[in-house]
């Protein structure tokens, strides 16, 4: 299995351990992640205004590259996943966005949203299969109660993102089970951590993050995992239990060493 890989800006710097652990674990599971050349930052947030064409271009370039390579576009970061998938949805469904973007980029063949955008968790779930992952586990995460934290971007709006049931997701829970761990199901796993608003108002991020952490702990969590560096940043400040990227516990379970910031 070969994927075109879109790492995104944070994974190449502050969250390098997220990137390294993801690539190494994929290798061990028989999937190759080929970083696409000259990718540009997706912008971190999806431009919701219909007339924001320029902000959609980096995503379209990456999507078109993957289309030309005839491969799926894989991301690990929730935010990149959200942006790429939303922009791809526009390219498929909005005549206005499609025609303006294509005429700006002057592609020979129009890009119409053909590329499949895959999150790393989707790759594990749908392409490799959690059963196959489970077979490769050497250090099962026994007796560890792990609370998966989904956040917003990987789930919503489910009509466009379509990753999992937005209210009762099960992918990360099944992922933890596959690694031999004990998933904690708690109601705030899809609540917002405060996101980028931390820059505008630290108090709101603190309030939201603390609510989530308290809820997870009350439901018995020893550890939390996430798929988004921004969630990691917000949660980590106020957490008294370990918070990890999901790929880190994947590497632990598979017995792979992966370092990074």
């Amino acid at each position: 299995m070969v994927y075109d890989y879109y790492p995104g800006c944070t994974l190449k710097s502050k969250a390098s351990r997220f990137d390294i652990s993801a690539v190494k674990a994929a290798e061990a599971l028989g999937a190759e992640m080929r970083e696409i050349p000259e990718w540009q930052c997706c912008g971190g947030v999806y431009p919701m205004a219909c007339d924001e064409i320029a902000h959609r271009l980096p995503s379209v370039r990456a999507l078109n590259e993957a289309k030309n390579n005839g491969r799926d576009l894989l991301t690990v970061c929730s935010a990149c996943y959200h942006v790429l998938k939303s922009v791809n949805y526009d390219m498929k469904n909005s005549m206005d966005v499609r025609s303006k973007t294509n005429s700006y980029l002057e592609y020979e063949k129009e890009y119409k949203g053909e590329t499949r955008v895959v999150h790393y968790l989707e790759m594990l779930r749908d392409d490799i299969g959690f059963d196959a992952v489970s077979e490769k586990v050497v250090n099962p995460l026994k007796e560890l109660k792990i609370a998966p934290y989904y956040g917003c971007l990987i789930l919503r709006p489910s009509k466009i993102i379509g990753f999992d049931d937005a209210e009762n997701p099960v992918t990360m829970e099944n992922f933890i089970k596959a690694l031999g761990g004990d998933p904690v199901v708690y109601p705030f796993r899809n609540e917002c951590c405060g996101g980028y608003a931390v820059a505008e108002d630290k108090a709101i991020a603190e309030k939201k993050s603390r609510e989530i952490i308290e809820c997870a702990k009350k439901h018995g969590a020893d550890m939390m995992i996430t798929a988004c560096p921004l969630c990691m940043y917000n949660l980590k400040k106020y957490a008294d239990i370990p918070i990890k990227y999901f790929t880190e516990i994947l590497c632990e379970a598979l017995g792979i060493e992966a370092d990074g910031e």
Binding site: K159, D165, A166, E167, N168, P187, C215, K218, H219
Partner: protein
């Protein structure tokens, strides 16, 4: 020689406001064969019809064109007028210049010229109209009611009381339907079982009513007055003629794993069971999926304990064929699946229940004997939150876009009953709008708010979650106070949207009765024919036609019964003369028409024909006019043009096309 009269209707201002009716009458008056042309304010009125009749007599008209509303509205009226004036009723054509012209085109010039063209098309068609005589067929004096809830029972009782035989087919093991599960009824708060069970008993004992419970309709053939229906009577594995209904079998059954449907799955029942104490018929049924005997071959405890020796594990489904003159659909409703509404936690938290479940919890014959106990720990809840419009008025694709109509009132009822029985409770109702437009309905809802102290909050619940200590936290908005609030609740009751029963769709297809996008049966006319399906001989009763509460359902059930009685009281039915006809002189006997006929109305016979070269015997198509519905499939399929459809002959349609394109 054609002598055509044209009559242009103003329909008050409905047509006259957007179409220059004078100009239309004048223009059409100049058409070939038109010898009379007039306009009048209301052509369908007594005076309008008199005008037509006089014109027919004075001008010796042979054909009539009325430019008015849709033929679906008044074609029958004008045909009757024609026949009273002494010409064949099928010499009338309608040009629809209201629904398809004046109401949809605002520009007078464009609408007027279109009206003239539509009039011309009708004139062109009427030139080729032929006098047709109405055929007749007999009527089977027996009605079929599909569905044994309050709608079906009431319809059947009314028909039976009028002296006609009627059969009820119910898919569940007992009649009674959803009403049997209810506790009290709004706005009078009388007990549902007390008013329903006597009717169930009456239906069972009535000499004119036959019950087929645990049965489903499998095939419907025929036409109005002469339906032929196949009913599958599913195996109960209990011989109905032997069973005394003692219930010993159900007591002894060791299997206790099946959710009790009657109590909405809140408790368990055995594999052999009687749905509830007042079930009709009072005969148990074996649920083969959960029966140990069926699964492993061992057990048979029920058989050993049956003094009447009624248990029969070898029983098979039975197919019953019966003839009916009329069919009533009364398939009722169900509530939607709440899987897509994860934010309310219905699947996650046992104390989040649907209103139907709450109905069972509050019912004295229910799983908690009528004590308000929450499902998770049996504790009596102190704070209850009701959420309305769960999936109703929802265009996001998760629910139903219509208003379920009954939820506002039953929620007020639940809230009121809770406060009455347990004054120490706090009851909140989240609502978008309270819709209470019925007799004593608004008064009832206000009583809940004013006298019973139910807290009505205008707003919606955004999320329901547990706080980790077993409390349900309900987060919602109060739009009037402009605040977001979180209520710590012990129990949440969701007013899930109601939808037509799943069986309605396939039944609609079998009956060739039209349905809307929500699987409600469509009525023949939304105002004037609300209990009839457009398919002749099929009638509608209860929720299957649209959301309804009990009084409305009973009223509609009675109305449907009257329509059925009216039909069954006739000895002969007039049949549509617009049927297919084959010209044996042209027919080559190719069988194309026979293959496309959906009703099997075409057969082949040898005919003696003379096409000018001498008599010979040929195999030609013959149409059975009583069976033909007049769809015209055969006429379009016929390669030689021998087959034609009366009232819509190829000549007529060509003439219309030519007139439209002129």
């Amino acid at each position: 020689m054609n002598r055509i009269g044209v009559f242009v209707c103003h329909c008050g201002s409905n047509i006259a406001a957007a179409v220059d009716v004078k100009q239309v009458a004048e223009a059409l008056g100049r058409e070939q064969n038109v010898v009379f042309s007039a306009e009048y304010q209301y052509m369908c009125s007594e005076n309008g019809q008199k005008l037509i009749k006089n014109a027919v007599k004075e001008n010796a008209l042979t054909g009539i064109v009325v430019c008015s509303c849709s033929p679906r509205m008044h074609e029958a009226t004008f045909r009757k007028t024609a026949s009273e004036a002494g010409i064949n009723p099928y010499m009338v054509e309608i040009a629809n210049i209201r629904e398809q012209c004046s109401w949809v085109h605002k520009d007078i010039t464009a609408a007027t010229s279109k009206a003239i063209i539509l009039g011309r098309a009708a004139i062109a068609k009427v030139r080729f109209n032929e006098p047709l005589t109405v055929g007749e067929s007999g009527v089977t004096k027996r009605a079929l009611v599909i569905g044994g809830g309050i709608a079906g029972i009431q319809t059947a009782l009314d028909i039976a009381d009028a002296g006609y035989k009627v059969d009820i087919v119910e898919k569940k093991p007992t009649i009674g339907g959803k009403m049997a599960q209810l506790d009290k009824t709004f706005p009078t708060l009388d007990c549902a079982a007390c008013i329903l069970t006597p009717k169930m008993v009456e239906a069972a004992r009535h000499e004119n009513i036959k019950l087929y419970t645990y049965s489903e309709v499998e095939e419907v053939k025929g036409y109005v007055g002469n339906f032929s229906v196949k009913i599958r009577k599913k195996a109960r594995y209990v011989r109905e003629n032997l069973c005394s209904g003692c219930g010993a079998c159900a007591l002894k059954c060791p299997s206790r794993n099946s959710g009790n449907e009657f109590n909405t799955g809140l408790d368990k029942r055995g594999a052999i069971y009687i749905p509830f104490a007042q079930a009709i018929p009072n005969i148990p049924v074996i649920d083969a999926e959960h029966c140990i005997k069926f699964r492993t071959g061992k057990c048979g405890l029920c058989q050993m304990n049956c003094a009447a020796q009624a248990i029969d594990f070898s029983q098979k489904d039975e197919i019953i064929e019966e003839k009916y003159g009329a069919i009533v659909a009364a398939t009722g409703f169900d509530i939607i699946n709440l899987d897509k509404f994860g934010e309310y936690g219905y699947k996650t938290y046992p104390d989040v229940v649907t209103s139907l479940e709450f109905e069972r919890i509050m019912n004295a014959a229910g799983p908690t004997k009528g004590h308000l106990e929450r499902p998770s720990d049996g504790r009596q809840p102190k704070t209850l939150v009701f959420v309305q419009c769960v999936g109703s008025r929802d265009t996001s694709g998760r629910g139903k876009e219509y208003c379920s109509k009954i939820c506002c009132m039953y929620t007020a009822k639940h809230a009121m009953l809770t406060r009455e029985k347990y004054p120490d409770t706090d009851v909140y109702v989240f609502y978008i709008d309270v819709r209470a437009p019925g007799k004593n309905f608004d008064e009832f809802y206000r009583r809940a708010a004013e006298q019973y102290g139910v807290h009505y909050i205008k707003g919606m619940v955004g999320k329901i979650y547990d706080d980790g200590n077993g409390n349900l936290m309900v987060r919602g908005s109060d739009i009037i106070a402009n605040e977001q609030l979180t209520i710590k609740a012990d129990m949440v009751i969701l007013a899930a949207a109601a939808k037509p029963d799943d069986s309605a769709r396939s039944l609609g297809t079998m009956l060739t009765a039209s349905m809307d996008t929500n699987d409600f049966f469509t009525e023949a006319h939304p105002k004037l024919r609300p209990v009839e399906s457009p398919t002749a001989g099929v009638f509608l009763s209860g929720f299957c036609q649209g959301p309804k509460d009990i009084p409305e359902t009973v009223a509609q059930a009675g109305a449907a019964a009257v329509k059925v009685i009216g039909l069954l009281s006739k000895d002969r039915l007039k049949s549509n003369p617009c049927v297919a006809r084959s010209d044996s002189l042209i027919c080559s006997g190719c069988s194309n028409c026979e293959k496309v006929c959906p009703f099997g109305a075409i057969t082949y016979a040898d005919a003696r024909v003379n096409d000018g070269t001498g008599m010979e015997t040929r195999r030609v198509a013959v149409v059975n006019e009583a069976v033909c519905h007049g769809c015209g499939a055969c006429a379009a399929a016929c390669p030689s043009g021998a087959m034609d459809l009366m009232g819509f002959t190829s000549k007529q349609i060509f003439a219309e096309v030519d007139a439209v394109c002129r």
